[in-house]
Amino acid sequence: MDDGALFQKYRETGDVSVRNEIAEKYLYIASVLAKKFAGRGVEYDDLYQIAALALIKGVERFEPEKGVKFSTFITPTITGEIKNYFRDRSRLVHLPRSVSELRARIRDAAEAITLETGKHPSAREIAVCLNLSEEEIVRAQEAGSVVSLDATVGTEEEGASFHERLAAKDDGAIERIENRDALEAAMRGFSARERALLELRFGEALSQTETAKRMGVSQMYVSRLERKLLERLRENMRKGMAE
């Protein structure tokens, strides 16, 4: 059965097996596109999953009567989903440590400049902000060997992610968090809203923008509150360790 007939059958019957047959036929496009974006700090498997989901959504939305080939239609659709993922979800860092730290600094600087100017900063702007050369910024962006910031660092029992540690990279107390009990103790007295913010940002690993949308506030508000909460956590941890 050719594509036209398959899409026609799916439109008429809504049969999921037909949709899946179409999706499987074009799954190679999801794979190809995931590979093309895999060098940006997100693992191929994650991108492939996103691309495959976008493919299925694309099958639902495709209108063959418009005369465009499905492969032509689906490529920008999948590309858009992948780019959205980069913008909204990626929390990644390169290894080794020196590169990972630089990546984190670049990310922080980029966020700060974006908040200030309202647009994505160039490597030059970030270089000026971090007092580094443009080449160092570009090289760090290009470097391979990446891991998810949400990956667990150390033993499973410790349970801390790269992100949790990097978020507190200037924070001597939080770096000494050994388990979640200590964290919970430090969060006593936090309001439901404050806990929700931390849960969205560090539990669900949402971006500040996404967190703001979920909470119905501005990104600036999230940024400020997050900074204050991390300060309070640090202070509470200091007190906890002193007791």
């Binding site: 492969s71 920008p76 030059r124 443009e134 290009e142």
Partner: protein, 120 residues
């Protein structure tokens, strides 16, 4: 439009990382955001792949500053064993999805020039 760099490179896969690094550097030089620089790298790579499949063993890449980065990639030398691939269609759609002002030109029925732009 100010010419920044003209590279003549083989379209072989092992040269792609070098080209990507150069593209990233020029993206920085012309003030592109990091995201746009990454997209530009993809577009340069895809263009080289398209030209390789069209039978070009080498290509020239002309990078120009024009309120961002304008890139023009042309096949160089004789066409040898052209082997269009099904993925070429994806490459073309990807270029359209990522870059602005994407233009392709053919010579004697075969692709020989790709150009596109990334705004600052």
């Amino acid at each position: 439009m100010k010419e920044l760099m003209l590279l003549k490179v083989p379209t072989a896969g092992e040269i792609m990382t070098t080209v990507r690094l150069a593209t990233g550097g020029l993206g920085s030089l012309t003030g592109l955001g990091l995201e746009e620089s990454e997209d530009c790298k993809v577009c340069v790579t895809e263009s080289l792949l398209l030209l390789r499949h069209a039978g070009y063993l080498a290509a020239s890449i002309n990078f120009c500053e024009d309120d961002g980065l304008f890139v023009c990639i042309m096949g160089e030398g004789e066409i040898v064993n052209p082997a269009p691939m099904p993925e070429d269609e994806i490459s073309a759609a990807l270029l359209e999805a990522l870059a602005a002002d994407v233009k392709t030109e053919k010579r004697e029925g075969a692709l020989y020039r790709v150009s596109f732009r990334f705004a600052r």
